[in-house]
Amino acid sequence: MNYNSTELLLVEDNINEAELTIRELKKNNMAKNLFHVKDGEEALEFVFAIGKYFGMRDVNQIPKIILLDIQMPKVSGLEVLQAIKSDARTKTIPVVMLTSSKEDSDIQKSYALGANSYIMKPVNFEIFAETIKNLGHYWLLLNQWPLKSR
């Protein structure tokens, strides 16, 4: 597995949730360079090439998009977001909060920490599927992405 070629990083602790998301992306042919990490801790290890990803990838080779859940064990999504946005090497990575939370406080905090978007996962599956499709389409295809080497 070439970690450096990862375009989409999905941070989601709930395996079922992750499966639904990945399935919708695959269906739309957008999961080719997708990598899934199971919690906030692993997300940080991957992004900063530390812990079990030490020496396995170049920190400067940033993904096109990170889909980040908030409510996760050990390290929460907001903490991951803060770490990414406060490191010069990673702060340009677009981060989309993808969460079940409707709490205004969560939305406020996310944007304050530099989130690029905030998406609430709808319970209704049809709407969920549509949302994921749009999300992938927008960030992977439409969005203009900064050059790899800054």
């Binding site: 949730e17 639904l20 409510q71 996962k121």
Partner: protein, 1045 residues
């Protein structure tokens, strides 16, 4: 012409400038002429040189010919020489025409053809030498030979023409320059002639004028000499430098007696007295004149016959034309007659002064009399009321000196300007009326610079001259300050009584003391009155003595005495009235005639008769001494006046021969004193019965002057233990007034207050008091009054309240802490509900959907229906969760109240719903709604829920109609939304607003049962109420009311 001469200097200056200009032009012109002639010369030289070149060429040709023909060598050398000449001449020519380019190019051609020609002739010569005559001749006769020569000739001809032309031009220029020069010279000559003429004319005119002036001068000199010699009143003559007489006029002869022949050449000493000569007077006079140019003196002079005359002499030092001193003129006038007249006048003046002095002395006597009275008196005279006369008491009163005499009264008392006082004075002068002013306050600045108010009774009388004309005002003042002070004291005391009623205090001993003081003051007043009476009597005697001597002064004096405020009566031995001052009639009410029939006891109060008789007896035993008396006297109106004064036995005095009664009406003063005593009694009662402790201190020393009974009971010290001790001496006050500085501060501020002060009784029982101190000003003396109130009970109550408050506060804090904790727990709970409960629901729905999608071929209809049921229920659960969360969040929501416009909100909601296309055509009837004060977000939620409800439940109606309006009821604004939808049974209306309670099943109208519960919660939180009315199948009305602020 005159004007021209006047401007002569300017003309000369102009002339000089013109001359300079001409000179400059001349110089320029001459150099110009020089240059043009040089050019002419040069041109002629060029012409000559051209000719020479041609001649040399011809020479050269001749020599060449000669050699060719003859073949003789001797022609070669001259030819060679001519050849050199040619080149030299051409060179010279080139130099001369260096400035003419045309000629230069001609010279180039000339040189070319000449050298060609010469070369060719060289060739011919060589041919002759080598080949003989024949071939050489052939060359000579060839065209070449001729051509060169023709060219040269041509060029030379051209050059000659050019030079001739130039010569002509330059000659012309030179001639012109010469002409110009001539013209300039001519102009110069003309101008010079003009100037010389002007100068000569001017000189001639000046000479003429001088001659005329001289003629006039000599003429006036003659006149003058004639005049001088014929003047008789003045001796006018000249002296030489040494002071000897040089000339003599007829006046001199007339005054001094000498003829001219006798006196000329004699020194002036002869005119002086021997005494003056001894003093060197003549020399001194001359020196003075020499020094100052002019000297005037007066003195005795001697005539020829030795008689004296009084003269006025004027010396003038004379100078000649060049300013050199050369003698004196002397003018003497006999002024003996003038002097005699003057001296006589002086004598008369002296007599006049003497008589004035006599008048002044008599005036002075009168003044002395007036000035001896103790009452201030002044006389103002003239339109501007100048201070004509004043006595010593007045000076003291106004704190002024004698230097004010003669000044207008307004200048002396500027503060009186435009006050009634001034008007009054003017009225006295204009109308001759007499004015009385009683108890007039006069604010005066005393020597110690403090302002003091004194009170006077004033009498303003017209001052009449002998011809009865009014020329001023006599003002007499009587100091009644003591009387007024007594009344003011009463008023002050009354006022203090009022204060005391509020603050509960005053001190009686102090008052009693003060009453004693008051009595003493009154006695003093009486004593001073006695003195006054004495003076009055003396005055009257003096007036009698001087009546005939100085009638005017007597009149003034009488006016003063008779307008005295006091009663002056004289009784004979049998006590019958023989004189009464006009004031008696005024004060007592009885007319003059009535009074004249009274004896001393008529109208006297019967009770006072005996005492007065006693006084009269006393005066008989000590004649001349005024004895004090006080009795009541019936006024014509029927009430008794209290009269106070003195009786003096002057029966033995030849001038008086009577008992002199001098009295003053003191009724009012006595009334004041009575009131004073009454008010004192009121005070005392207050002081004694007050339910506060009262302490009176001397403000200067801090010594306790009095305590009231309540304070004695309160503290347990006896009256004696308090009295005459300094406040800080008593142990119990040590905490209050630790040192004198606190006391000083009290004196400065006039007030101090301790709300909560610990005190100890004599038996060491501690308690708390309120301690209020006030400084009072009583008759200029400051007294400190302290009110002390026991606040032990109040303090206890206060402490209980404080304790309760503290406990309460602690309880509130604890409760708040608990609530905060509960709130936090709730927050965490609802957060996890919103997040964690939703995820599994999404999974259920998601995987059901995948099942349907991926295995649709393997699922039959029933299986597909079942998955749909799963999905629908899961969705419903999701909705329930959302509703629950917003409902629980509502209880934690903090309202931010602003003015909310419901019409705007409603329009916005409808627009949004229309965009989502969630309903069909609805007949909206929205009235203008009242604004309300509330939290915008939640109020919006209320409207969203109510409107969606109305839409939802009226969607089955044929024409859905929704009406929204508001109205006021009591203090409430009521909002109402009414639809024509499904409605509800009124008997279940109380269930409408309960969570999860629904009146319709989900198949009919979907819903969670949270919307209206949320509405209820929001409105209740705003302090309002919700209710609903409905008829099944007809529609429903939902109301909510909010309080109007």
């Amino acid at each position: 012409m005159k004007k021209y001469i006047r401007h002569f200097n300017q003309v000369i200056l102009l002339g000089l400038i013109i001359l300079a200009a001409i000179l400059f032009l001349t110089y320029k012109q001459s150099s110009n002429t020089k240059a043009t002639s040089a050019w002419v010369f040069r041109t002629q030289e060029v012409r000559f040189k051209i000719e020479q070149v041609f001649i040399s060429l011809v020479d050269n040709e001749n020599y060449t010919y000669n050699f060719i023909i003859t073949g003789r060598r001797e022609f070669i050398e001259p030819r060679q020489k001519s050849r050199e000449n040619i080149y030299n001449q051409i060179d010279t020519l080139r130099r001369l025409t260096i400035y003419n380019t045309a000629q230069q190019s001609q010279i180039d051609s000339l040189l070319f053809y000449t050298s060609e020609k010469l070369q060719f002739s060289d060739t011919v010569i060589n041919v002759r030498k080598e080949k003989g005559l024949q071939p050489a001749m052939q060359l000579v006769s060839s065209a070449e030979w001729k051509v060169y020569m023709d060219h040269v000739r041509n060029i030379i001809e051209q050059m000659q023409i050019e030079e001739s032309f130039l010569l002509l031009q330059r000659k012309k220029a030179s001639e012109m320059a010469g002409d110009q020069f001539k013209r300039i010279v001519f102009t110069i000559s003309i101008l010079l002639i003009v100037f010389i003429t002007i100068f000569l004319i001017r000189n001639w005119l000046q000479d003429n004028k001088q001659k005329k002036i001289k003629a006039k001068l000599s003429e006036s000199e003659k006149d003058f000499q004639l005049l001088v010699s014929s003047v008789k009143e003045y001796a006018i003559f000249l002296l030489d430098k040494e002071g000897c007489v040089v000339s003599w006029n007829s006046g001199a002869k007339h005054i001094k007696g000498y003829t001219a022949a006798e006196i000329i050449g004699k020194p002036i000493n002869v005119f002086y007295t021997s005494k003056d000569i001894q003093n060197g007077e003549p020399q001194k006079n001359l020196q003075m004149a020499r020094l100052y140019g002019h000297y005037e003196t007066e003195g005795l002079r001697v005539r020829k016959n030795g008689s004296f005359f009084y003269a006025n002499i004027v010396f003038t030092a004379l100078t000649d034309d060049k300013g050199r001193f050369n003698g004196f003129s002397k003018v003497t006038k006999d002024i003996s007659e003038t002097k005699r007249v003057k001296d006589e006048l002086n004598d008369n003046n002296k007599k006049l002064i003497l008589s004035q002095k006599l008048i002044q002395e008599s005036e002075q006597r009168f003044r002395n009399i007036i000035e001896q009275t103790i009452n201030p008196i002044l006389i103002l005279k003239g339109e501007d009321l100048k201070l004509e006369m004043a006595n010593e008491p007045l000076y003291k009163l106004l704190n002024i000196g004698k230097e004010c005499i003669g000044k207008p009264v307004i200048e002396i008392l500027p503060e009186m300007r435009d006050q009634p006082f001034q008007k009054l004075l003017v009225d006295v002068v204009k109308n001759g009326s007499t004015h009385y002013g009683n108890e007039q306050p006069v604010s005066l600045i005393r020597e110690n610079r403090e302002r003091e108010t004194v009170y006077f009774n004033f009498v303003y009388l017209p001052y009449r001259e002998n011809d009865n004309r009014i020329s001023g005002v006599i003002v007499q003042a009587t100091d009644v300050s003591a009387q007024v002070a007594a009344r003011i004291k009463l008023e002050t005391i009354e006022m203090n009584l009022l204060i005391a009623n509020k603050e509960l205090s005053f001190h009686n001993d102090e008052k009693e003391k003060r009453a004693v003081e008051l009595l003493i003051a009154n006695n003093q007043l009486i004593t001073s009155e006695t003195e006054l009476n004495k003076l009055n009597i003396e005055l009257e005697q003096r007036v009698k003595e001087r009546t005939e001597d100085i009638a005017t002064n007597e009149k003034r004096f009488r006016a003063v005495v008779e307008n005295n405020h006091d009663i002056i009566n004289l009784f004979d031995e049998s006590l019958r009235i023989i004189y009464r001052s006009p004031s008696a009639s005024r004060i007592l009410g009885w007319s003059n005639d009535e009074l004249s029939n009274f004896d001393i006891f008529t109208n006297m109060h019967p009770d006072d008769r005996e005492r007065t008789e006693e006084v009269i007896r006393e005066t008989i035993t000590s004649p001349g001494n005024p004895i004090n008396a006080l009795f009541r006297w019936l006024h014509k109106c029927g009430n008794y006046l209290l009269l106070e004064g003195t009786i003096t036995n002057l029966l033995k005095d030849d001038n008086v021969k009577a008992f002199v009664f001098n009295f003053r009406d003191v009724t009012e003063r006595m009334e004041v004193n009575e009131k004073l005593l009454a008010s004192e009694a009121r005070y005392r009662r207050l002081f004694e019965s007050a339910k506060d402790g009262i302490l009176i201190l001397n403000s200067d020393t801090g010594i306790i002057e009095d305590v009231n009974p309540y304070l004695i009971t309160m503290l347990g010290y006896s009256h004696a233990e308090f009295l005459h001790k300094e406040l800080w001496e008593i142990g119990l006050f040590k905490d209050i007034v630790e040192n004198k500085s606190a006391f000083e501060k009290l004196k400065k501020d006039g007030y101090s207050r301790y709300d909560n002060l610990p005190l100890q009784t004599k038996t060491h029982k501690a308690f708390y008091v309120e301690f209020v101190s006030n400084v009072y000003d009583v008759d200029g003396k400051q007294v400190v009054q302290c009110n002390i109130r026991d606040i032990t009970e109040r303090k206890k109550a206060e402490q209980i309240i404080i304790k309760l408050n503290t406990e309460l506060e602690e309880r509130v804090l604890r409760r708040t802490e608990q609530l905060k904790k509960t709130n936090e727990e709730l927050e965490a709970f609802s957060y996890s509900v919103s997040h964690d409960l939703r995820a599994p629901l999404r999974a259920i729905i998601g995987f059901s959907a995948i099942l349907e999608e991926d295995y649709s071929s393997k699922l039959d209809t029933e299986a597909r229906r079942l998955t749909t049921v799963i999905r629908n229920n899961t969705l419903k659960m999701s909705n329930l969760i959302d509703g629950l969360i917003s409902f629980s969040r509502m209880s934690r929501h903090n309202l931010k109240k602003t003015i909310v416009n419901s019409n705007e909100i409603i329009q916005h909601i409808i627009d949004e719903l229309e965009i989502k296309n969630e309903f069909g055509a609805i007949n909206w009837v929205i009235h203008s709604l009242s604004t309300l004060k509330g939290d915008f977000d939640t109020i919006r939620q209320v409207w969203v829920n109510l409107i969606s409800n109305a839409i939802k439940y009226s969607r089955h109606s044929t024409i859905p109609r929704i009406e929204i309006k508001s109205y006021f009821q009591n203090d409430q604004v009521v909002f109402l939304i009414k639809d024509n939808g499904a409605g509800f049974n009124q008997k279940y209306s109380d269930k409408l607003f309960k969570v999860f309670q629904r009146l319709h099943n989900n198949e009919e109208f979907e819903g969670t049962g949270i919307g209206l519960a949320l509405v209820e919660k929001i409105v209740t939180k705003h302090g309002g109420k919700v209710w609903a009315e409905g008829i099944e199948g007809k529609g429903a009305s939902f109301y909510f009311s909010l309080p109007v602020d």
